[in-house]
Structure formats: structure tokens, C-alpha cells
Symmetry: none
């Protein structure tokens, strides 16, 4: 009998009590019989994705939930997002998350998303930007790729690059796009800032009179006349899961940042038709893909973004809808995988508060059902119920060893 | 009033739910009124001996339960086992666990235990092996001692030795005994491998036509015609408990590995007649010895191996028997020590699964009874009950400070 595991991560699903839900959390308020069934069949607890009180991004939380010490290995967002978007990032490359945006003549940001530009327009612009040539004396080149709507990624390639550079994106409408500044006095930092500023300047020249933007102006749409960068990052230096645990693993996720982390972990990235990383995703297609992937893999990470999106927008009702869709996925998994040979773990990568609209540092619930767990008394999957569970309170990076231990994949220490 | 403590460690007693026990664990299925009484009178919790999900050996687990950071100080099994077997190992020595084994003419292992050779035969062989002379130019000597049946220990003594050498024991019947290889490119590693290979070769020559083996062959017993080595180790560099906590301490254990750890911790090793480190041990003699030792000591570690042996053999019923014997020891302790002045802590050094037969990384239950513990609601001593206890989930190396704190032996940090 080959034991397997699914780690089902619902992005931002954990929350705080919400007044309009009579001080229940969205998880407590939602109808979620399948998640409850997993909690009831399993051992439950709470997870601090990074550390008590630390609000994590989805990148570091996913790194932690895959067993990596994110505090040590995390090296910025950019490379993870670029990798997850299908850009070939190499170990010494420095990559950035980018936005197509709209600025006025004084470089003041008017719209950080260029009117949520269409994929079609963004693709045409990106094609033109990719033709920009860096001066040969800079001894560097780049890859630029648009992803969804205004989103894009940029990877710089060449010797002596550094992540010690600031953002050009002020992340606020009404502020000026920034010159990228080195964050330390190293040669590499200065060089990287110089290359990036030069490149962004060239980009701006190409965008200025681009036919796509002229067309947008004619239709009253904000032109995508600047590329804003943030989150300089390199690929984290980690061993793949296959090497650490000897498992074959796959990832079902649409969010580029999560895909990037899974790529770094050496997981096979599955493409699922209809999986969008939005509340309009095809939930059941992802659940089906996870069950399918489990046939050839020992470990499958299944990630759904929708609950997080609703929380950021402060929409408790929409978050409950997302949770109920996630519950249906849980039902499908329960129906299709045998808990006599498969461990099914459900958690969130972090708490996102529907009230503050932010990631918060509160711990998240975890339930693990499967053949040899020490089943506890918890009967519901939510923040308060799981806090009474037999797992107690563990750290994010402890979860993967716990799962791999159930699969017999952790190495003994000592004799 | 002088406060004292007994740490009662039942090796491998923790387990996972077992189908043939109606999904109870052996602890849950056993009749164990005294262990329950300790839980009921005390504060309970769960311990990760090393880290969540990490299956520990008894050596590193015991180091951790004595308060040492095993991940930092552990330096291999060999020296601990040799020390625990009464061999004088010095700080720079490199020691090994050995087996008398049987190989064919092509050095393929036929029996890793030479038919579980008797202590008597092994002693005669060891006496001959001890007379082997290493070439003077090697500038090294050795101690070899048989312990129980096929088991033996070997300590190499001399300058510039290293633990960076592989095992000669392939740990599998049907495979060839290995040449010992250096694990790094250091002079010390190469030198140690050379000395060891030379010595094992000499051993083989002595064993070949040894009268004991000729006698064994005549009776159809497998000859002990090779010594297999594994687990190169040095003495871990740790402070004794007396220095850390100012306590006088003693150890009641038969298992050499555990005795070795206690020796390293500066504990007095008590010899108990009838204590064998097997399920046939004299349980009550050990309990009596612990109570006796407590008269002159502040802290006594009482270790029983039997439950672990039963788990490795996959025998749930035998494990329950061992637990019920362990419970009788608990009853004796409760009867003889006053909980108004003595803390009585019961735990396991690791989970051993009766299903997989392996050490597993699941946490182990802990109960601490004594005058000033914050008694909780837990009424039974088992994995699931203790998970609801007031201690929560702690690490192995946290336990000793917790106990020593109750004894008033921990130092204040800060002002």
C-alpha cells in the first residue's frame, strides 16, 4: 500500500470574527459539511504560517507549508512570480513583479493598473517591449512577459546583479513613479539599479506612442504608458521535495506566486483549464486535477485563491460563497480518495481579515484526515474548533514533516 | 524540604491507532490505572522529542529529554553505545557499534547476528580479538568488547581520528560486507578508514579458524566469522547535569545506548540485577532501584525498553503487556515516593508504530505529577488524552528545564 497526501490550501480562508456575521468568522458562518467531515475524521490544530503575529505573504507562507524555513530562504517575490508565470529565471537572475500603469507628464501615477488593461493589449505591448536592446556595455539582458491583465514580470540576466534595489512602483496613486535606487553601497546594487532605470526608460519611450496606447486614448481608456517594478527577487536556494523526502509531487494552482514556489520545490506544475486564480475559477476542475495528479504522485498541493480575494475586498458574503465552493472541492476529494491510503490535509496559507482587508498574523486552522492519525474530538473545521485539536499549535514549516512522517518519508535522526 | 524528580521514560511506548485494537493505541487499550493516576494528579501535554515529524533514535531522544540540543551536540551512536557498555571512551576516540556476523567466502552476509551467538561464545571470541596488535606505524590502539549476544563495541584510540567514515555493516543479509570508506577528503577520515579496515581484516583472520567457530560449525551453528561495524561516533561535548542544574542524578537503564547518554550527562549509572533491556526484564527491580537511588539523588532517570521491542516486532498484544508492566512500576513509584516532595514525570522517548515497526515522528505523551504543577483536566495517560493537557505541545529539550524549574534548579535570566 503506497500512502499519499493532498495538501489543500485555501488562500486567506482563515479570518477573525466579523460583526456582520454575528461575530462568527466566515468559516464559522459558512455551510461546509465536507470540511467538517475532514476535521471530524482527522486530527486538528492551529498553524502559525511563519511566526505568531507575523502576517505572511502567500509566497513565504507556501514556502513554509512546503517545509522550508522561509525566514532563511526567502529571497524576494519577483523571481517566484516570474517562475510561476513561465519565465525561465536562472539562479543569478534578479526578477521583478511589474504593472502596466498610467502616469501623467510629470510621472505621477494616475492608475496603477492602466484601467485593468486587457490581456490582448498587454500582450501586444509586451511584444514590443521585448524588442528593446540594452546597451552592450551593460553586459546584461532581460526577459519581459505580461501575465494577467496589467500584471507582468521582468527578469534581468547577467553577471553581478543584486536584489538590493528599491521599487519603481510607489504603490499609490498620486505619487510619482520612482527612480530605482540601490539599497546598499555595493557595486552590484548600483549596477542593477542603473540597468533597471535604463531599461524602464527605454520601455517608456516605446510605450509613449505605441499604436495600442493611441487606440486606448481614442476610446477613452487610460494608456499603459509606464511599467512599474517591485519586489526584486532571486530564486531561493532550496532542495526539491524529491530530494528531501523522496516523493514525486505536483501542484494545482493558478496564482503565479504560488506556482513559482512550487516550481522551486521541484513540483510538477499542472495546467488546469478554467483555473484562473480568481473567485470565478473552475473549482471542481481543480479538484478533479488534484485527484488525477495523485495517481502518479505521492504528494499534491491544491491551492485556491478565491477566499483571499473576497477578504481583500472586504466582502464577507463573497468569502462565504468561496468557502462553500471550497467545501464542494473537499467533498469531491473525500469522495474520490480513500482515507485508508491517502492523507488529506486542509489549511489556509494565512488569515486575511475581511475587516482590515489585510493579511494578518493570526494562526490558521489545520485538519489532517487519513489512516493513522490520532483522530481527536474536533467536529468542525474552523478557527475556534481546530484550536481544541490534538495537533496543538505548530509552525508552518512543521506541517510538511508531519505529513511526510505519515507517508513514512521522513528520515530517522539518531540510532 | 528537598524537592526531587523521577523521569520515567518508556522507550517507544507511544503509538498510532491500531486497527486490531479497534483503532485505539496500545496505551489506550492497556489497563494502566497507575499511569492514569499520574496523569490525573498532574499536568499533561505532548512532546516532540526532536521536532514535529522527525523520527528520533533513542540516543538523540534521550539527549533531548535530558535537556540537550541533540541537533547540535549529537556526534554519532558508537561512542554512546561503547560508553554505555562500560568501555572507557576518551574524548578524541572514535567508537563503533559492532555485530558478530556470518559471511560466506565472498564476504556476503548470511546472518547479521551469527545465529544470535551466546554471550559465552562471544566473550571467548572478543578475548581473542582484543589481543590483535595494530602495526606500530599506525600509531593507534583499540578496545573491543562484546555486550549482549552478537552485539559488541569498538573504540579506536589515537591522534587524528574522525567520525567521517562509512559503515562496514551493509545492514542487509545478502549484501557484501563493505570496505570502510572515508566520507570526506580529510586526512583524518582516510586515516581512520585505513586503521579500521586493517583491524577488521585482522579480526577476520583470528575468527576464521577460531576454536569457538569450529565448535559452532560442528553443531550446525553459523560461525561468527566477521565483525561488522557501524555508527562511528565520538563523545558529545556537553556539560554534565550537575554543572547545568546543580543536581545529583542517577540513571536506571539497561540499554547501552541510553546508559551511554546518561554517562555523558554525568549521571551515576546504577546496575540492577535482572534488568536486561528486553521484555523479560525485571520491571519491579528497576522501579525499586529508582526509589532507592532517589534517596541520595535529586534526579533519577528510569528507562524501560520493553514497549519499544514489542512495537518493532509488530506485536500489539505484547506491547500492551509491556505497558501494563510499566504501569505496575508506576504504581510502585506512586506508592513509594511522596508527590508532596517528588515530581514524577512519565513519557516515551519516541513513537514506535506497531504497524510500521519503525520509530515515527509523532509526538509522545507527557504527564508530570508533583506538589506544585498546575493540575489539568486530563484523567488518562495516553496520546489523545494528554494532547488536551495544560502543558500543550513542547519540544523534548524543553522538558528538563520544566522539571528542574519545579525543583528550583533553573537559573533566572535577567534581573
Amino acid at each position: 500500500l503506497r500512502l499519499k497526501a493532498i495538501l489543500f490550501i485555501a488562500d486567506g480562508m482563515a479570518d477573525r470574527p466579523v460583526k456582520e456575521l454575528s461575530w462568527k468568522t466566515p468559516l464559522e458562518a459558512a455551510r461546509k459539511p465536507s470540511l467538517n467531515q475532514i476535521a471530524k475524521a482527522g486530527i486538528c490544530g492551529m498553524v502559525d504560517p511563519i511566526a505568531s503575529g507575523t502576517p505572511p505573504g502567500s509566497d513565504v507562507a507556501t514556502l513554509a507549508l512546503l517545509g522550508y524555513d522561509a525566514l532563511k530562504v526567502y529571497s524576494g517575490r519577483g523571481a517566484l512570480e516570474a517562475l510561476g508565470s513561465g519565465v525561465k529565471v536562472q539562479p543569478a537572475d534578479v526578477a521583478f513583479r511589474c504593472n502596466f500603469a498610467t502616469v501623467n507628464q510629470k510621472s505621477v501615477v494616475l492608475d496603477r493598473r492602466a484601467g485593468r488593461i486587457s490581456n490582448e493589449d498587454a500582450t501586444k505591448l509586451a511584444r514590443s517591449l521585448s524588442k528593446v536592446k540594452l546597451r552592450k556595455s551593460l553586459n546584461a539582458d532581460f526577459l519581459f512577459k505580461n501575465t494577467i491583465q496589467h500584471r507582468a514580470v521582468l527578469a534581468l540576466h547577467g553577471p553581478k546583479l543584486s536584489t538590493a534595489v528599491g521599487d519603481s512602483d510607489p504603490e499609490k496613486v498620486g505619487e510619482k513613479a520612482r527612480q530605482v535606487k540601490p539599497l546598499d553601497s555595493s557595486f552590484e546594487g548600483k549596477r542593477t539599479a542603473k540597468i533597471l532605470n535604463g531599461l524602464l526608460h527605454e520601455f517608456q519611450k516605446v510605450l509613449k506612442n505605441h499604436p495600442v496606447n493611441e487606440e486606448r486614448l481614442r476610446h477613452g481608456s487610460p494608456p499603459a504608458n509606464i511599467v512599474l517594478c517591485r519586489g526584486a527577487g532571486t530564486i531561493p536556494n532550496v532542495k526539491p521535495l524529491s530530494q528531501i523526502y523522496g516523493v514525486k509531487s505536483a501542484c494545482i494552482a493558478a496564482a503565479p506566486l504560488v506556482r513559482g514556489v512550487c516550481k522551486v520545490a521541484g513540483m510538477k506544475l499542472m495546467d488546469v483549464k478554467g483555473a484562473t486564480g480568481t473567485p470565478q475559477t473552475d473549482y471542481m476542475a481543480k479538484a478533479r486535477a488534484a485527484v488525477q495528479a495523485l495517481k502518479s504522485c505521492d504528494f499534491v498541493l491544491l491551492h485556491v485563491k478565491a477566499a483571499d480575494v473576497a477578504s481583500h475586498d472586504g466582502k464577507a458574503k463573497q468569502k462565504i460563497d468561496a468557502i462553500e465552493n471550497i467545501d464542494r472541492m473537499g467533498g469531491y476529494l473525500l469522495d474520490k480518495v480513500g482515507l485508508d491510503s491517502t492523507y488529506l490535509a486542509v489549511t489556509a496559507d494565512h488569515t486575511t481579515s475581511t475587516v482590515t482587508g489585510n493579511h494578518e498574523g493570526d494562526p490558521v486552522p489545520i485538519a489532517i484526515a487519513g489512516p493513522y492519525v490520532r483522530r481527536d474530538d474536533v467536529e468542525k473545521y474552523d478557527e475556534r474548533s481546530c484550536a481544541k485539536g490534538g495537533l496543538g499549535r505548530i509552525r508552518g514549516l512543521d506541517l510538511m514533516p508531519v505529513l511526510m512522517n505519515f507517508l513514512g518519508k521522513t528520515k530517522k535522526f539518531g540510532a
